[in-house]
């Protein structure tokens, strides 16, 4: 379990993080959202043990996070980077060993991943010879090869074509099912809805929204409903708003007068709408 407890961090006069608290349960996929410059990267660096908070603490399974925990954490930074002159094989081996794997372990895991991504033939290629998407795959492997318990992914889908993005999405889900806790930072709200159970929305260094994705969407409902009538054998779709004092049944009764209702469902706001509304207010 990852617990962030009242973490603050300032750079000069700028307060990048202001008493941030959150709890990430084991085995969940946690979405870390926020506009650019909100403080996400700083928070991610603190969770990684790269930077220390000015006050507050970040605990992984009850222990303060430092670099000693690095073998349990996998981090895919937003700005991808690999040693350009190294071959794919050397690169993966080096980073895996830096995460504390033995050479033999690293070699075996690498073989599995290369097979899974069908890139065994790239091993001898230098990073600079790879296309951006290919390099991204290698980077993803270097992030997860040491079987981290906590995986921090910053914009994991950027730079991938739809097919590869889907492949990465499936890998994230698979790793999550195997017990890996995932922190996902992304601007792609669609994937947040698809993957995340919980989210925290950060703005100006503070958490402005936090909780279960479905609950949040329900909390933000704006009494919008989608109704489909059958009028003269024709299907008509309409968006209607429920009055505050009305119940659903009241609304249905009111609508039933217009014609035969064939479908009725509440329109929950998308995370995208919630994001924009919350940040702008």
């Amino acid at each position: 379990m990852l617990i962030i407890n009242k973490v603050s961090k300032s750079f000069g006069h700028k307060r990048a993080l202001d008493e941030i608290s959150m709890t990430v349960q084991d085995g969940t996929i946690y979405g870390l959202l926020g506009p650019n410059g909100a403080g996400k990267t700083t928070l991610i660096r603190i969770i990684n043990g790269i930077t220390a908070p000015d006050s507050g603490e970040a605990l992984l399974d009850g222990d303060r996070i430092s670099l000693d925990k690095s073998s349990q954490i996998g981090y895919l930074p937003e700005e991808r980077g690999l040693y350009k002159k190294m071959t794919v094989y050397e690169q993966v081996m080096y980073l895996a060993q830096l995460k504390g794997m033995s050479a033999a372990q690293a070699r075996e895991e690498m073989r599995n991943w290369f097979k899974r991504f069908d890139i065994t033939s790239w091993q001898k290629k230098k990073i600079e010879e790879l296309s951006k998407g290919m390099a991204q795959k290698v980077q993803f492997i270097t992030t997860v090869i040491h079987r981290p318990r906590l995986l921090i992914l910053d914009e994991p889908f950027s730079g991938f074509d739809p097919i590869n993005a889907e492949m990465i999405r499936q890998e994230i889900l698979r790793l999550n099912q195997e017990g890996t806790t995932v922190i996902l930072s992304t601007h792609n709200m669609e994937s947040v809805e698809m993957l995340c159970q919980e989210i925290a929305l950060i703005n100006n260094g503070r958490i402005v929204l936090q909780g279960n994705v479905q609950q949040i969407r329900r909390q933000h409902r704006s009494n919008q409903f989608r109704v489909v009538y059958e009028i003269n054998g024709q299907s008509v779709e309409q968006k209607v708003e429920k009055k505050p004092e009305e119940t659903n049944n009241d609304l249905l009764k009111r609508l039933a007068k217009k014609g035969e209702i064939t479908a009725f469902e509440e329109i929950l706001p998308t995370m995208n709408e919630i994001f924009i509304k919350t940040v702008q207010s």
């Binding site: 043990g49 790269i50 670099l67 930074p77 700005e79 080096y94 830096l98 995460k99």
Partner: protein
């Protein structure tokens, strides 16, 4: 948790040493140095133009025909016609030496005409032949008996042998020229190494930053480990290079020595003394005698110790510079304060080759930023061991200081992108 420095050292070392360019440069540099010294000698001494040349001599004075006798390379053709006419009639000759009058009256009355640019040997050869002949004639004209021999004797070249008394009473032949030169060479080498390998450290850091691998790296290792791993790894690359050169140099020396000095199997000081005082020995042999008088082991050991100390002192500063900039072009502003002391050291070192015990040289051989270069120039002149010990102690102590300082800058700098920090900001990082 185990330190990851060995892994990083291994990576930094391997990626550099395994490069083809490393092997090429390491092998090529000594060859280039030797070649740049040997080539001119070879070019001058060897008969590069094997074909025999014929030279037409048109001597209007009729005095100098005896000066030219056919040799291995030149045949002479004596003509008594007009220059233009001769040119038309004898297209086969390499050139025309046209003597218009008595050379004792005017030394300017000789001209060499040719269709092609004459090669470097021809004209000097002709001049030598002609001058010798003119000199002989002049000497003869004084009518003094044995004058020629007297002059030859008066031209004796004097050699001063320098012999250094060792504590144990033995004698060593030295050559102050060689000592001076070798001191300078060693200083140059250290200077080059600090800049070259320090620069590599900086470049490495900048590359890690600009390729954005830095963030991945420091999520696995401490910034200080990353910095030290890189510095040590590159130091080992440098030492590998030095070792290879020592081995190549040693083999070359062992192979060449018997050729240059056939009879120096037993190197008693006496024997060398005799050799050195023998004016028949060539300059190359003198150099070898002087080289044999060197305590190579001492110089190599001190070179390596000062290289390590000097390199470590500067490398961490170079790493700090690399960490504060985003690309190499921005680095110049920050490398300046580092390169100035190295430059000063080099100037003092050049001075010190003439006066190794001047106050400036002595002080600079203690100051850590200049000592690796300056002290090594003084070492061939026999510096007391305690002086070396003190200078070395200060150097290694300062290395800890600069590394600590650089570590602080590095730690913050590697995560900063975008704007170049000001000196004031860097100062804040250090205090932070």
């Amino acid at each position: 948790m185990n330190s990851k420095i060995p892994l990083i050292i291994g990576h930094e070392y391997r990626t550099r040493v395994m490069k083809r360019s490393f092997l090429i440069i390491t092998l090529l540099t000594p060859i280039l140095i030797v070649a740049s010294i040997a080539l001119p000698v070879v070019l001058i001494t060897s008969q590069s133009d094997d074909a025999q040349k014929s030279i037409a001599v048109i001597d209007k004075s009729g005095l100098y025909q005896p000066a030219f006798t056919d040799s291995e390379n030149y045949t002479f053709l004596f003509l008594d016609e007009d220059l233009q006419q001769a040119r038309n009639e004898h297209p086969e000759v390499a050139g025309f030496l046209y003597i218009t009058g008595d050379l004792t009256d005017s030394l300017q009355s000789v001209t060499f005409y040719s269709e092609k640019q004459p090669n470097t040997e021809t004209v000097p050869y002709l001049r030598r032949q002609l001058s010798d002949y003119v000199n002989q004639q002049r000497i003869a004209s004084y009518n003094i008996p044995h004058l020629e021999e007297i002059i030859a004797q008066s031209k004796q070249r004097v050699n001063i042998n320098t012999i250094k008394w060792e504590k144990d009473g033995s004698e060593h032949i030295t050559s102050s020229d060689i000592t001076e030169l070798s001191g300078l060479l060693i200083a140059m080498l250290i200077f080059m190494f600090i800049f070259m390998y320090g620069g590599q450290v900086m470049q490495g850091v900048v590359q890690e930053k600009s390729s954005r691998i830095m963030e991945v790296m420091i999520s696995s290792v401490r910034p200080f480990e990353l910095m030290m791993g890189k510095i040590i790894g590159i130091a080992l690359v440098g030492l590998t290079q030095v070792m290879m050169w020592v081995i190549i140099g040693g083999i070359a020396f062992a192979v060449i020595t018997p050729f240059v000095m056939p009879e120096t199997q037993a190197l008693s000081a006496d024997a060398m003394n005799q050799m050195a005082s023998n004016p028949e020995y060539s300059e190359i042999q003198e150099i070898f005698i002087a080289l044999m008088g060197f305590d190579f082991l001492k110089i190599i050991v001190l070179f390596i110790l000062y290289f390590i100390g000097g390199y470590l002192l500067y490398a961490s500063l170079f790493a700090a510079v690399g960490s504060v900039v985003d690309n190499e072009t921005d680095s110049q502003q920050f490398t300046l304060p580092i390169s100035i002391p190295i430059m000063i050291a080099m100037f003092v070192a050049i001075q010190a080759t003439h006066s190794p015990n001047s106050a400036l040289a002595v002080w600079c051989s203690y100051i850590p930023f200049t000592s690796p270069i300056v002290m090594l120039v003084r070492v061939p002149y026999d510096v007391a061991w305690w002086e070396i010990a003190i200078s070395m102690f200060i150097l290694y102590l300062s290395f800890i200081g600069t590394t600590w300082l650089s570590g602080k800058i590095y730690r913050t700098g590697i995560l900063m992108y975008g704007k170049k920090p000001s000196w004031k900001e860097i100062w804040k990082w250090i205090k932070y």
